[in-house]
Symmetry: C2
Subunit: 122 residues, 2 copies
Amino acid sequence: MDRIPILRVKDTLLVTIQAEIQDRQALALQEDLAGEIVKHRARGVIIDISALEIVDSFIGRMLANLAAVSRVLNVHTVVVGMRPAVAMTMVELGLTLHGVKTALDMDRGLALLDVLAAAKEG
Amino acid sequence: MDRIPILRVKDTLLVTIQAEIQDRQALALQEDLAGEIVKHRARGVIIDISALEIVDSFIGRMLANLAAVSRVLNVHTVVVGMRPAVAMTMVELGLTLHGVKTALDMDRGLALLDVLAAAKEG
């Protein structure tokens, strides 16, 4: 089983979801992410899904779980790079990514994390 | 065939190599990277290989080709995240990643691109 790598760019962690993900990979990713957040005292997490052609309920739940794990550690998660077709399919499927923040691209995701971090400190 | 996504963080492009790559994926990545460099007027390219457990001659050639494509467009490429075991295997195999710059992690890779860009302008 290949683990999904977690990159660190300054104080932000970056996860790129590329291929279809299996149950065990999703679980391992949660574990790894929690570990990396604590290890690097990360400020925020960005999850890029630009490679995904579909977000079904499994992926949706995985994203929600990743955000929940981060939230418990007081770290914000932003999902970026959602394709227009993916957004439309999610609405059709009735998926709402409850509790998950999104942004159009990395730059906006990083900016959103800045705002959220400032609000937390303020 | 899944395409390998290319992320943009400000003026730098970021490619994460995750699974084993096939010939056609490597070719598609070259095409996509050249397109994205021109489209976003990128300053540099960072290729993360922290997920790779081995870099054989095929991967080595692919990295060299990606760097060559970028170089033709006057853009620098830095490979980051190489595992210690990968470095040792590469030396054993006699692979040198000729023409490819490396850095330990994203932060150092970005710093290296800064230096290279400054040298180009200076």
